[in-house]
Amino acid sequence: MTTPVISFQDYGFQYMSQAEPTLHHINLDIYPGERVLIAGTSGSGKSTIGNCINGLIPFAYPGKSTGRLLVDGKETQESSIFELSHVVGTVLQDTDGQFIGLTVGEDIAFAPENDCVPQEEMKQLVDQVAGLVDIVHHLEYAPHELSGGQKQRVSLAGVMVEEVKVLLFDEPLANLDPAAGRTTIELIDMVHERTGAAVIIIEHRLEDVLWRRMDRIILMHEGQIIADMPTARLLSGNLLLQHGIREPLYLTALRYAGVEIREALNPEHVDGLQLQQEDKEQVRRWYHSQRVGIRQEQHGQELLQIRDLKFGYTPDTYTLQDVNFTIYKGEMVSIVGRNGAGKSTLAKLICGFEKPVCGTISMEGRDLKGDTIKERAAYIGYVMQNPNQMISKPMIWDEVEMALVQSGMPKEERTRRVEETLKICGLYPFRNWPVSALSFGQKKRVTIASILVQRPQIIILDEPTAGQDYHHYTEIMDFLKELNEKGYTILMITHDMHLMLEYTKRAIVFSDGRMLADNTAAHVLNNPELVQAANLKETSLYTLSLACGIEEPQVFTECFIGYEQKEVR
């Protein structure tokens, strides 16, 4: 048997700043050329494992370790971060942060530069690696000229240039739209084929990673390894759901229909499913029993109207054009499309951060043209993607009260409003806490509360769940759903297919600054042309329904969501 390239032996680790160990009794061997997925909720210790492998622990984050960790046969304690970087190449989650050079070429050359590789040789090396990941025509580009997927290619090239034995990816999909995520997984697959390096992916978006074969899944929970088994076996059990990881959608659908998930089903990939005749029959029966339950929604009053909107940062090119839609009172709508399709620009126009070239934005029939940002804030609330970019007061109460203080509202009225808002957001028990004591999801609530306190009629959220695991995702989304049920109108910019399907009835699709569709989420995701144009990804439900001989995948998807809302929640 070959020797493992990475070997944890009863390993434990405690960060210097923390009272409790983050990792307990880890026993894990990873062999050359393997493909391993490490899954787990945030705080499960999965990123810490990654940091142990690449040497950030203990060299950048000191702490106390027990047991042994061998990387390429060598105790990491006695190695150095530099030595380890020749064995393990790490692609960080934040590709912007990882992009060090001023251009693509320089960035790829960063590691060889530090190794004092002569320039001639270095240029050849860069060309060769850039060719491998297909970025060779962009060597002169600056980071801001690249798309998210392209930056990922550069990051990958930057570590591949070392001829490492292990490629470690820390949440590679977090900031990518669905199609770019899929391409990334394909890219990793290809690099694995060409280099033969072991691939370790740390990610909680299971279904997206499983787009290409993974040999094993390591499931982490509270600093321990709960499961270490072949993908098919793990998917067959209930372990994933129990530990806050979402299983692939098609498997959930099969479970709902009463089909038992077993290894013989080949559950790793929707295209490879080995469904028996009776399984298909079972799914069809379930589908017909659910079908009756679907009903059409009634529209409320018109709230926000966008007519012939056009906008460009420079006079001749338009970032957005021909945008027309109406949002009705009490709706929850998602705005989807690839990175750079104009979604965020639309939000900026609605909030008044930018001025349209032509066209109108009106609320309840009143044109907003003359209103300043501040005036619009009274009826339109905008929540940024990252709560850390919004929170500017140390205490929760002060943060939520801020907008009211600015508007010069009397103290009593303010107190009443803040209390009421905190209660709506479930933050009342924490009202005197410092913001720093909260989790990411709770901080998100604080930012939403700080907007709600102004009593806007419509709230726009930019990527409300980006980078969140299933648990936090559910927490945030259920809260938003609750708000929606209390009558708030919510507009969400997202590229999360699940979110769009499960929580919003309607989706408005953008591509290259134009509106492509305005329809139900299920309809959008079951229309292959739309899916492709907007860089979305058709859901696996679509494939599953076709495989079971159901001819209206869109209705099947609606059944699934209807069932989930009725029976599961």
Partner: protein, 277 residues
């Protein structure tokens, strides 16, 4: 987001652009020394003409750098004004003669010697400014770090400069986004509020910005370490260009200028050229 570039690299084809960063850095440093040392009007006049020629060759237009030029002019004016206010007779002392042109009030008399001193001082600045601006406008930022390292500055320092250049646009973009979102919460940064309120309000933007920048620094430094930054005493550079014939010619030229400058200036034991005695 509209981009306002006050002073940055301007990509053009010119003999000045074609020189390596190292050459330009050496030229700039030697030129600065030469003009700082001398008060000799003849030398300064020659250097001024050379500066103008170099500027012409670089194909950078005045309006590309008009904002900075304007600022430089204002500082130069202020500088002259204050020198005169505090030492109206300095020129007389230097040139050991006194030719009164007219009197303003009290001790403030305008003498030919003082005017001559101001002329020299101004010429010194005018010699350096175009060369300094050209250094920035014609050197690819990628080459900054490499050229600093090649004259013996530690590559860590050189790389900090280059990283700052890399992240300035990102931080600007983030500042813009945060400030818009905070404005939507009633934070007003326009001139309407009192100064104190405005300062207090700017904290609402700066605090999140600083926190997120600190985060970014952690990521970047991790990313750099993971790719071996700081491993060796030296490193090689992907973007560094080989010295060409023109580079050596330029360095030779500026060396000659510096030598002539020093010889002419100190020939008679004084830094000042004195036409009055």
């Amino acid at each position: 987001m509209a981009k306002v570039a006050i002073l940055s690299y301007i990509r053009r084809e010119s003999p000045v652009h074609a020189l390596t960063g190292t050459t330009k850095l050496i030229f700039f440093l030697a030129w600065s020394v030469a003009s700082m040392v001398t008060y000799d009007t003849r030398v300064l006049l020659c250097m001024l003409m050379i500066s103008a020629v170099v500027f012409k060759i670089s194909r950078i237009r005045i309006r590309d750098i008009s904002i900075v030029l304007g600022l430089a002019a204002v500082f130069l004016l202020l500088n002259n004004l204050f020198v005169y206010l505090f030492a109206p007779e300095y020129g007389v002392e230097l040139y050991e003669s006194r030719t009164v042109l007219f009197t303003i009030a009290g001790p403030y008399t305008v003498t030919l010697q003082q005017l001559f001193y101001h002329l020299n001082m101004t010429m010194k600045v005018i010699c350096v400014v175009p060369v300094a601006l050209l250094f920035i406008a014609c050197t690819d930022p990628s080459e900054f770090a490499a050229s600093l390292a090649s004259i013996g500055v530690s590559y860590r320092i050189g790389y900090s400069v280059s990283l700052a250049l890399r992240y300035i646009p990102d931080v600007q973009r983030e500042y813009h986004n945060i400030s818009q979102a905070q404005q939507a919460r009633g934070i007003d940064l326009s001139g309407k509020d009192k100064l104190f309120t405005r300062l207090k309000n700017s904290v609402a933007i700066l605090l999140p910005l600083i926190l997120s920048s600190l985060n970014r620094i952690e990521t970047v430094s991790n990313a750099m370490e993971l790719r071996g930054f700081g491993k060796n005493k030296k490193r090689t550079w992907y973007v560094k260009r080989k010295m060409q014939r023109n580079d050596w010619l330029t360095i030779g030229f500026v060396a000659v200028v510096l030598v002539i400058d020093l010889v002419v200036t100190f020939w008679d034991g004084s830094r000042y050229f004195n036409p009055f005695v």
